[in-house]
Symmetry: D2
Subunit: 216 residues, 4 copies
């Protein structure tokens, strides 16, 4: 069975404005496809995603549709531009909304719907902030049920100060960025396959009971 | 074959001073042992670890001995107290020294000696900073060749401002902290076993070549 | 002349939902008022603030009105809840929009409209992340033209894991939080008065010219 | 009276090894000197600074001598290289040791010896992490009694991945970096003079009492 990847583009710019993050994503998609992984990219700002920390914030909230796609995927990539040396507000919003999943433990063993999915991060900026953005996002993913492979990220940044972004800087020809991206794609796919064949045995509910007893 | 865990205690305090981080580690060790994982804890400040970013900084540097143990382990846990809302300087030092491993790719496929090892993080403080510390450390681990399972961390913090730390605050009776710790231990062990049976197929050297070609 | 403070409430919750951040703000407002500073709080999500990094993102963007109030203030406080151990997405959005000011240098010496204003930060959460949030926000403020006094922040957080937030936890009776808040208020007011009487002499345009020459 | 600046070089490399951070510092020192500020740079790793959070960690600890110089200065600059996308372990160590000052409130009004001093940050790296480093350091400085002027920092970083650092990259000819550095120097000197003439009136002890009463 083919693996499926969902990529969340967290640019601040609505379609059809040019998004450097989108260009970076498309470059990565090709590599996923070569490994027989289907990809779908969602440009978050093109949808009406409400502020909040639940899986459904009511009327006019497009998050439930996005979440459905995340749940159906084996691999999830969060792609964000850098603003102010950090992930975009849209990327933070996505992190907040994914908290909803933490109340959706299944009946069997209490695992969130994200257990056994694998996550990665793409970041593009014109100067500085990639590692801060990646760090925060990897933490979110780990708590929210995802597993993180070796080198689960790639990024492009240029020299200090204003300057060209991914497209103009020819980030798709930047060897370090490409190398990281290939590692991310190959390692994500490996780990996703391995977890598909060997899902977590962790009984979340039983550990909750055990924690209760330990804490008396 | 039994799995082995190495835990790095990054307290600022030399033995025999009381270390809250040590108490937290010992609590976690019991759970690793229950799952048939042997554990060894290294209190980094008791050794003479030099500043630097290579695997051996010369005379009087104790890092090579510590690194040997890390290389022999299946699971690695970095445990750090919080100071100034962030990981300790000793934890940062360890992160810097682990960079040396990134120049030690093997001859076969270029993977670092850490590929197929699994990492986790323990953090204790008296008020604030656990998630910042965890975020930075997870990023380091991912780049340095480790894989990160679901909920790869546990932490204890108390209320804003000065207050009791792990031991006096009875962190070992704090349900949330215990629950996170159990999840960390069980998920780390699951992922370590799975990767032992299914090591990364990623050919790091070939991807380097591919990146070079893509970037012309 | 009375000093004016504008406080930006970056809760995710629209009015009239209860906002812990709002309760914290109101507690701080009383202290500003005692020092003869008038205060106005803006609950950002009640307005339609567009994503972007300019001062005006076009039709239906309420940011220009908010920015007008910021420009008329002597002191600016950004107040944010913690989500995922970090500032809220709304607080990040505000940071991004304030970038617009960096293209609004005046004709005389090129200083942004924020030069000689003083900034502070209030953060409330139920467990962890205050210092990470404050750090990022102080950096933004410094680059965006604000000056930062001693102890330019206050925060409330509780013990690790889910728990009561500012209102239920009686954050307004938490001594450390109150102490920090009083320091913030008194130090902000001192610095604002001092800068009003002694505005920055820095000639931003001339330094730009000097930097150009130095860099040939 | 001449102002005095102390600059802490937090490189990992002992003298006489080449330090890019040192080159950056020397470039900034010239500008301080032009404004009639005397400068002294301390290369922290050349001294035996113990781990800890007090002002004196006992025998063989060189921190007390460094702290004496900090106390005698009007301006303090922390200069750090980037390792792992963050400040160096040495810079973190310095932040930890400065905590000692927070127990040294004076008898008169309880202000730390750092009140009325002004702080800034220099960061050099070869690709990414300057803003994360600056953010954490500015937070530390603000809590530890320093005031932070507009644009209290400068940094140099190059493109994503390994590459030349400050010296080889000719950071001293990088216009953005120079512009930031000039702003930092001029704004620090302005604020230091202004605070020398108008020291904080804040009565720290009285506010402590007030906080106690408010919190009953």
């Amino acid at each position: 069975m083919k693996l499926k990847a969902v990529i969340l583009n967290c640019t601040l710019k609505k379609s059809p404005e040019t998004s450097n993050t989108q260009a970076f994503i498309e470059h990565a998609e090709k590599e996923f496809n070569k490994l027989d992984v289907t990809t779908e990219t969602i440009r978050v700002v093109d949808h009406n995603v409400a502020y909040g920390v639940s899986s459904d914030e009511g009327e006019n909230d497009d998050w439930p549709d996005i979440l459905k796609k995340i749940k159906a995927a084996d691999l999830v990539v969060l792609a964000t531009p850098i603003w102010r040396g950090d992930r975009s507000s849209v990327a933070k919003l996505v992190g907040e909304r994914l908290d909803g999943i933490m109340t959706e433990g299944n009946d069997k063993n209490g695992q969130f719907p994200t257990y056994n999915k694998v996550a990665g991060v793409l970041v593009d900026g014109n100067e500085d902030g990639a590692k801060k953005a990646i760090s925060s996002i990897l933490f979110d993913f780990s708590e929210q049920g995802f597993s993180i492979p070796v080198n689960a990220f790639s990024y492009y940044v240029g020299e200090a100060g204003p300057g060209p972004s991914y497209i103009k800087a020819k980030g798709d020809k930047h060897e370090f960025t490409n190398n990281c991206m290939l590692l991310m794609v190959h390692n994500m796919v490996h780990l996703a396959k391995v977890l598909k064949g060997n899902p977590y045995a962790t009984h979340v509910k039983q550990l909750e009971e055990q924690a209760k007893k330990m804490s008396k």
